[in-house]
């Protein structure tokens, strides 16, 4: 499946965007651009506006001020948080993936071409053998792969994911990270939210630190620094370096966690 986008120019541009629910402001003066082939992690604590920013990019909510411009004809797919899904819903993996196919067909059953598409995308994500299983029977990593498969079936240029590694174990987190990295290398632009600084954010090529406003944006080395983290999370944190990557530790106990030099 070729995910490379032939389009040039930003996929989505947010200019001076403010957003809130009723009179409670959630996001203020956001200027942000999603470039083709980009891979960005939006980091911030709960309530910092991460999910709202995703929804603005997605187009399910409208800004109260400012503008969101999407490239004409842009195909965007969305992967929700696993924790919000009803895993006992009576569908198999293949049925779940097929949901995102065009809804214009007037007959309920899938065509041979649709079945072939689903089989191909499941194969691509390494879960072809699970097609007939009930969704409840999947592990965390397999659940995430299934939703990514559903998203890819629409052949998107941009994939938006809400906390893709929330509540999953370390093995699953690595699995998801590697998969997303592969998809990104094939040309798919990805924007995801995460509050997991060490496990997720530090591994991404580009980060945006959000606390209602954009506090900082850039590489992990530029964003995962003490003063940005303090502004974003409202707590002092120390940052160590490990194999060239930043590692965040609790600022309350620096002496015990600081590595011995020498």
């Amino acid at each position: 499946m070729d995910l490379t986008s032939p389009r040039i120019g930003p996929l989505v541009t947010a200019t001076g965007v403010s957003f809130g629910y009723d009179r409670t402001p959630v996001l203020l003066d956001i200027d942000y651009t999603v470039e083709p082939g980009g891979f960005t992690g939006i980091v911030g604590p709960s309530g910092s506006g991460k999910t709202s920013l995703l929804k603005l990019l997605l187009g399910t909510v409208r800004p109260q001020r400012g503008q969101i411009q999407r490239q004409p004809g842009l195909a965007v797919s969305y992967v929700p948080q696993l924790e919000t899904v009803n895993w006992s819903f009576p569908v198999t993996v293949a049925e779940c993936v097929l949901m995102s196919r065009s809804t214009r067909r007037l007959l309920p059953w899938a065509t041979a071409a649709e079945k072939a598409d689903v089989a191909a995308v499941l194969e691509r994500l390494g879960i072809a053998e699970l097609a007939g299983r009930h969704i409840r029977e999947l592990s965390g990593g397999q659940q995430q792969r299934m939703f990514i498969a559903r998203a890819l079936l629409r052949r998107p240029q941009l994939l938006l994911m809400d906390e893709p590694t929330s509540g999953v174990d370390i093995g699953t987190r690595h699995e998801v990270l590697h998969l997303l990295d592969d998809l990104n290398r094939e040309g798919l632009a990805i924007v995801l939210t995460t509050h997991d600084l060490n496990g997720m954010a530090a591994h991404l090529p580009h980060l945006v630190a959000l606390q209602r406003r954009i506090v900082a944006a850039g590489s992990p080395q530029e964003v995962i620094v003490p003063h940005v983290l303090e502004q974003t999370f409202g707590a002092r944190m120390d940052v160590l370096q490990h194999l060239g990557m930043p590692v965040v530790v609790d600022g309350g106990e620096p002496a015990r966690l600081r590595p011995v030099a020498g």
Binding site: V76, V79, P80, S88, P90, M99
Partner: protein, 297 residues
């Protein structure tokens, strides 16, 4: 009269045969819609909507408009109001249903008490009746069933997607708002059409029980639709027959047959099926991920 003759005796009465056909259609209709209602976590809406429509039944004759039209419009307005209040997210669906429909029911009782009614008898509306099922009632039921089957067939994927994952469906080309409104329309028409047979107080059970039993028996959405529709219509037939033989309101016997089916399935399948039907989202009874086909990298 032999036992066989006494068993077949009801079929000699035209009113019973009409009632039986009506009960089968009503059961199938409620069973079909019930799958969508229960999977959306809106089991209480059937109960609420039937009460709301009761208000329409009482008000329509006073306003000089046909009962079916008035009660139908009233029910649809109530359903859309519930939907709108729920979407505003200020209060939950259960509270919205409670406010809108009980107020409508209270208004219906007040109007009936104060002004009487030219429509169906009070008891028949509450508990359903085998008597007086007219050709018009059968046409309404048949029309409602054809309408529901057509809607759910043509928009199968859109309804499935918007029921399972409305947020993603919305950004994938499905108008969730339109699907919600259409479901409310189908539900209103169905509750209205079945009210005379099953009754205001018992419609909810015929919407919920077949769907719950189907969920206990199957992990497949499409199979659930077949099982729930089949069980609903079968319970309608058996319930109507028992209603005649035992001289009990038809709504009561239909619901009791459904309840017996639930207990039988529960006894046979055990707690695992019940957990599945309850929508519990735990993985404790599942094989370890490593036992599944490996999908890791």
């Amino acid at each position: 009269m032999t036992l066989w003759q006494s068993l077949l005796d009801p079929f000699g009465y035209e009113f019973f045969v009409r009632g039986l056909v009506a009960a089968v259609l009503a059961g199938a209709l409620c069973g079909l819609i019930g799958v969508y209602i229960t999977l959306r976590g809106m089991s209480y809406i059937g109960h609420g909507l039937s009460h709301a429509i009761f208000g329409g039944y009482a008000a329509a004759p006073l306003l000089g408009i046909p009962i079916v039209l008035g009660a139908g419009a009233w029910g649809l307005a109530s359903a859309l109001a519930i939907n709108a209040i729920t979407r505003a997210r200020r209060i939950g669906a259960d509270a919205a249903i409670g406010v809108v429909t009980t107020a409508s029911f209270a208004l219906g009782v007040a109007l009936l008490t104060r002004f009487g009614t030219k429509g169906p008898a009070f008891d028949a509306l509450l508990f359903g009746s085998i008597n007086g099922v007219s050709g018009g009632d059968l046409l309404l039921l048949g029309g409602a069933l054809v309408f529901a089957v057509t809607v759910f067939t043509v928009l199968y994927r859109a309804f499935l997607f918007s029921t399972f994952d409305p947020e993603v469906a919305d950004v994938s080309g499905v108008s969730v708002r339109r699907m919600d409104a259409l479901l409310m329309l189908v539900l209103s028409v169905s509750v209205l059409a079945t009210l005379k047979i099953i009754g205001v107080t018992l419609v909810a059970a015929t919407l919920v029980i077949p769907a719950v039993v189907a969920r206990m028996l199957s992990d497949s959405f499409s199979r659930m639709l077949w099982i729930s529709t089949g069980l609903g219509s079968s319970a309608g037939a058996v319930g109507m027959y028992l209603s005649f033989q035992l001289e009990i309101p038809s709504g009561t016997t239909i619901v009791l047959v459904n309840a017996v089916a639930f207990l039988v399935v529960l006894a046979v399948t055990g707690g695992r099926a019940l957990r599945r039907a309850a929508g519990l989202n735990d993985h404790t009874d599942l094989p370890a991920p490593t036992a599944l086909v490996g999908a890791g990298r």
